[in-house]
């Protein structure tokens, strides 16, 4: 098989026109998902059943079902409900972009909250006891001791999750959005050249993945200054 090089050189810039949308999907749902993750985490570790149980159920459902199905339910399913059409969220849920953001955020929130919980559980109990013994309140212990250490512990898993989320943004193309994958699918429909186009698309995603990993590598290095001993 011979690759049509010209087609590749042609399609890459076209697909990159969708990069902005891909990044918007990534960063918006990452921010919202992380905020949601923190709320879910606090509910889970609150020690109060009425808060912990709903959070656990939520996490179980969103981690236990395909994200594509979640996107479909939000995009195709919710508008059927009058309640939704009359709610203040309708302007968001009416648009495919809004639906994609909501679905990706809800899904990421579930995963990231488990990652953060792992970090919190990884904090040495002795450190919390030392903080108690110094008279810090439960809230102060969480803010000044548990959280900063848990964040450092969570970072590698969190960075994997950002990569996953970046890849999941491609699913937005199934609900008519023209992100990079959406554009690729349009080009393929016109040119019948799936190999060239999708392989080029893969390369673009790989570069994005590499950039995300590098950024987190840099952050991790900065945040673990304290374990290097030369300072």
């Amino acid at each position: 098989m011979i690759f049509d090089l010209e087609l590749i050189l042609d399609s890459i810039p076209q697909m990159l026109m969708g990069l902005g949308l891909t990044l918007q999907l990534l960063f918006l749902s990452l921010a919202l998902g992380t905020a949601l993750a923190i709320i879910l985490l606090l509910m889970r570790i609150s020690g109060r059943w009425v808060l912990a149980a709903p959070a656990m159920a939520y996490i179980y459902i969103f981690r236990g079902t395909p994200i594509l199905v979640q996107i479909f339910i939000i995009y195709y399913g919710l508008p059927q409900l009058e309640l939704v059409r009359e709610s203040i969220l309708w302007p968001i849920l009416r648009e495919p972009f809004g639906c994609a953001i909501v679905a990706l955020s809800l899904n990421t929130g579930a995963y990231v909250s488990e990652i953060f919980r792992g970090g919190v559980l990884g904090v040495d109990r002795g450190l919390k006891e030392a903080a108690s013994a110094l008279g810090l309140s439960a809230r102060q212990r969480f803010i000044y001791i548990t959280a900063p250490i848990a964040i450092r512990l969570s970072l590698p898993a969190y960075s994997n999750d950002v990569v996953s989320l970046m890849k999941s943004t491609a699913l937005a193309s199934t609900i008519t959005l023209l992100d990079m994958t959406g554009i690729a699918r349009t080009i393929v429909a016109e040119t019948y050249a799936p190999y060239e186009v999708f392989l080029s698309l893969m390369v673009i995603y790989l570069v994005l993945t590499w950039m995300i990993q590098r950024s987190f590598g840099w952050i991790e290095k900065r945040m673990s200054r304290h374990v290097r001993s030369e300072i």
Binding site: G126, A130, L134, G135, S137, H226, S229
Partner: protein, 250 residues
């Protein structure tokens, strides 16, 4: 509050502690007066850590009463906070906050609990670091210090809260032998300055020279209490004698 009570810093009355069905403390009584140095010893698992962890409520006792400087320890968070401000604690595993520098480790509790100014806290921290002879390490990360240095920082951190009494839970057990004396020296200095101390340790030399009172625990009970001279030279109980033989023979 009568004069008599004011002189008692720690009062443990008839305290039991259960972990599930297991009784870790059995009707323990202990009174520690201001300025008194108490050494607690006993075999592993005898309840020494449990006792001192109950004194600052890292564990809740099951029955009996514990009073610190007149405050009774109950479930009330306010009481617990009040007591913790008066009780410092030094752990076997140092427990320095790894994400904070040495001086930040010392400044955190004064900032959050006493809400004093940053300059004040820094001055106080440097003063306490000087007291444990480690001021030149102020800006380092704890992981860059030796075990002995870390434990001295932990002592300085406890001192920053100006506690009425400091609890030590085997402060030298995790240290390499050559670092034990630098920590013991700091503790001896504190004792000389009149600090009230309850110290779980198997350093019998330290107990002999510093303690006003040695407490021997076994299986959750206080078996014997006495001044070091009588405790070491003429122990009353067979269990104490056996323990001393074992610990002094190596």
């Amino acid at each position: 509050m009568s004069d008599n009570q004011q002189d008692v810093i720690v009062q443990v009355e008839n305290v039991d502690k259960f972990f599930g069905d297991f009784q870790a403390l059995k009707a323990v009584n202990l009174t520690v007066a201001r300025g008194e140095r108490v050494v607690v010893c006993g075999p592993s698992g005898s309840g020494k850590s449990t006792l001192i962890r109950c004194i600052n409520r890292l564990e809740a006792h099951s029955s009996g009463r514990i009073l610190i400087n007149g405050h009774e320890l109950t479930d009330d968070v306010k009481d617990i906070d009040a007591v913790r401000r008066e009780v410092g604690m030094v752990f076997q595993s140092f427990n320095l906050f790894p994400h904070l520098t040495v001086i930040e480790n010392l400044m955190l509790a004064p900032k959050l609990v006493r809400k004093t100014s940053k300059t004040e806290n820094r001055e106080l921290a440097m003063e306490m670091l000087a007291r444990v002879k480690i001021q030149d390490q102020a800006e380092k990360w704890p992981s860059a210090l030796s075990g002995g240095q870390q434990q001295r920082v932990a002592i300085a951190r406890a001192l920053c809260m100006n506690p009425e009494v400091i609890l030590f839970d085997e402060p030298t057990s995790a240290l390499d032998p050559e670092m034990i004396s630098e920590v013991l020296d700091v503790m001896i200095d504190l004792a000389k300055e009149g600090m009230t101390m309850i110290c779980v340790t198997h350093e019998m030399g330290f107990a002999r020279s510093v303690a006003d009172k040695v407490v021997f625990m076994d299986q959750g009970e206080i078996v014997e209490t006495g001044p070091p001279a009588t405790f070491f030279d003429s122990p009353k109980s067979d269990r104490t004698r056996l323990f001393l033989q074992q610990i002094l023979s190596h």
